[in-house]
């Protein structure tokens, strides 16, 4: 097997140095990858945490790095499982590693301006009641604009054949990916490289410590487990369960303190409304060959330019002047039926004063059920869920919080109305 020798280095505030292969550097230099420098990772979160100005560009490099660390660790520690599952030798695994790195690097290539805030403005998939996601856009952009870059690279082609379709299928979950699908959990799962990077990175740039967890320990204990539809195919060895617990807690704290911060949620709403007024037809173009070209013309810079020209309506003004809607009432983090009924009553009482609702379940960062398999270090190698080790993780409930917002000037009147509601 040929050893790839040409690598480049790029600095990263989280990991120090990230190493790139020749073809990855070519991809990064592509204009549509450079576009990610103009997409903020956390949208308007800087209006709460001023340092949170980092971009999808640096995050994408971070995910590439983290995915590589996890992949290499799994290969080192889980040879038997990989052999049993996929019957791959070292050449086959090397090919998989190249594909996983590319998928990690390109996983966010299809993001809209201001990241997840714009996703409500993706069109509905024809004949389905679901909206396109940024993953759909990413897959289509790779198919149309990066496939040639990948497939025509001589070193890749001569050593691994044409792999662009495998990258797309890994991103999309396409059946043609074959055994490469084994690594999908590494790109988008409970213990994925994406989450492991953004928690650290967002925490660093926001200036908080909530997202910090022992990632080095987690990387060193990451393993493949015999695949089960009950819990997937990636887990941690027993020595790493506390680190996995730390990751889960980091998610919880970052969600409640940063991603679902009451003011950040208000600005997500304002940018959505402003974008809807800026976009032709109020929606982004679909991920078709022509639609993608138009779609890729949109980035944060273009939107900010239009807002500064006075476009974007009332919501555009609110964004520029930091005049957001105010939280007036919210349910507990995990509302029961009585809480939901009270919420409905508040909503009805507010009537025309209600500006919008914030829902934790709609947030891309919402807290999900954790099921991380932990492999015992005794000879029986028994597999148990993280919940059985960690009483903290077992007790954390899903966050389904609901919030009601009104205009700042209407807060007094809104409170007067709501005071009359039983249970307030």
């Amino acid at each position: 097997m040929l050893e790839i020798r040409r690598t480049y280095e790029i600095r990263c505030p989280v990991f120090g140095f990230i190493h790139l292969y020749d073809w990855e550097r070519e991809i990064i230099n592509h204009k549509y990858f450079q576009r990610l420098r103009r997409i903020r990772q956390l949208a308007w979160c800087d209006l709460v945490y001023p340092g949170a100005m980092h971009s999808r560009f640096e995050h994408s490099l971070g995910v590439l790095h983290m995915a590589t660390l996890l992949f290499e660790g799994i290969v080192e520690r889980s040879k038997t499982v990989l052999q049993d599952e996929m019957a791959l030798n070292s050449t086959g695994l090397e090919r998989h590693k190249i594909i996983v790195r590319l998928a990690a690097l390109l996983h966010d290539i299809g993001h809209a301006p201001f990241s997840h805030a714009g996703e409500e403005l993706f069109p509905i998939i024809p004949k389905k009641s679901l909206r396109y996601t940024h993953e759909n856009y990413s897959a289509e952009i790779v198919r149309q604009h990066f496939a040639d870059v990948i497939n025509n690279n001589r070193e890749l082609l001569n050593n691994y054949g044409k792999i662009a379709d495998d990258v797309v299928n890994l991103l999309e979950g396409g059946p043609q990916a074959g055994t490469v699908l084994f690594w999908k959990d590494l790109i988008s799962g409970q213990l994925d490289a994406d989450r492991m990077d953004y928690l650290l990175r967002d925490s660093l740039h926001a200036g908080v410590d909530y997202g910090r967890y022992d990632w080095r320990r987690l990387v060193n204990t990451f393993v493949a487990v015999p695949s089960s539809a009950e819990y997937g195919n990636l887990g941690v060895s027993e020595g790493g369960w506390h680190a996995a617990e730390g990751l889960f807690l980091a998610r919880y704290f970052m969600f409640t303190q940063v991603y679902f911060h009451k003011t950040r949620v208000a600005y997500d709403h304002h940018i959505q409304e402003a974008l809807a007024s800026l976009l032709p037809g109020g929606k982004f173009p679909p991920p078709t060959p022509d639609g993608i070209i138009d779609y890729l013309k949109w980035d944060d810079g273009r939107v900010l330019g239009l807002l500064s020209e006075g476009k974007g309506g009332e919501h555009g003004r609110r964004l520029l002047e930091r005049d957001h809607f105010r939280l007036i009432r919210e349910t507990p983090e995990t509302p029961d039926e009585a809480d939901n009924e009270r919420y409905a009553e508040w909503k009805e009482t507010l009537g025309e004063l209600l500006a919008f609702e914030g829902r934790a379940s709609k947030s891309w960062y919402k807290i999900a059920k954790s099921d991380i398999p932990v492999v015992s270090e005794t000879t029986d190698r028994k597999i148990r869920p993280l919940n059985e080790y960690s009483s903290i993780v077992a007790k954390i409930k899903p966050i389904k919080q609901l919030r009601l917002y009104v205009e700042k000037e209407k807060k007094g009147e809104a409170n007067e109305r709501l005071e009359k509601v039983k249970g307030k």
Binding site: F182, E230, T334, D336, K366, P398
Partner: protein
């Protein structure tokens, strides 16, 4: 749809399936694949975004809903250990009856689809459901591209994703699904290669 109406449809469907099954419980894999089949084959508007993983079609939202239902006492989950790992047994919780009184109206229009699911797939093992879900996903993927694929094609595709599965077992599953008229793109042809 309000959030609670979604929850009534999604969790109400699972409770109905449990009520009408012999074991009165479902495993986590079964819950996932049942929701997939209801949405994909029978067009019940559950609103999940399923993607194909190594272990079949998966949506994290299904697990989130089960978790939420547990926090409301509508479902309860216990871990069951096997030689090779573990699974989950999901059963109605203390608040299930009260929940179903509100949910039954929401699931009523889809009752015949739920009955179909129970009749056709109840009692299947997690491994069988994993195969079934994967086969349907591949079929629908081909259908989306307006392709017609043969039984051999779909068996080969499944085998490529899951080399550890026995090809005869794959063929048996695919043949059964063909008989149940579940596929849109797969056509019968000579099974012999």
């Amino acid at each position: 749809m309000t959030d609670m109406k979604d929850v009534y449809l999604r969790i109400g469907s699972l409770l109905y399936i449990m009520e009408n099954s012999k074991s009165k419980t479902v495993g986590r894999t079964a819950a996932m694949k049942y929701q997939y089949l209801l949405q994909t084959v029978k067009k019940v508007h559950l609103g999940y975004d399923f993607r194909l993983y190594y272990y079949g079609p998966f949506s994290q939202e299904v697990l989130n809903d089960i978790d939420y239902a547990e926090s409301l006492g509508v479902l309860k989950t216990e871990v069951v250990y096997y030689a090779s790992g573990y699974g989950y047994k999901i059963s109605p919780g203390a608040a299930a009856q009260g929940f179903m009184e509100k949910a039954s109206e929401v699931i009523a229009p889809d009752k015949d689809k739920l009955d179909w699911l129970v009749g056709e797939f109840e009692g299947k093992s997690a491994a069988e459901l994993e195969l079934i879900g994967t086969a349907v996903y591949i079929d629908r993927n081909a259908g989306k591209a307006e392709q017609i694929i043969s039984i051999n094609d779909i068996c080969s595709s499944i085998k490529r994703i899951k080399p550890r599965f026995d090809l005869d077992a794959i063929r048996k599953t695919v043949s059964e699904l063909l008989e149940k008229k579940v596929f849109v793109a797969v056509r019968n042809n000579n099974l012999a290669t």
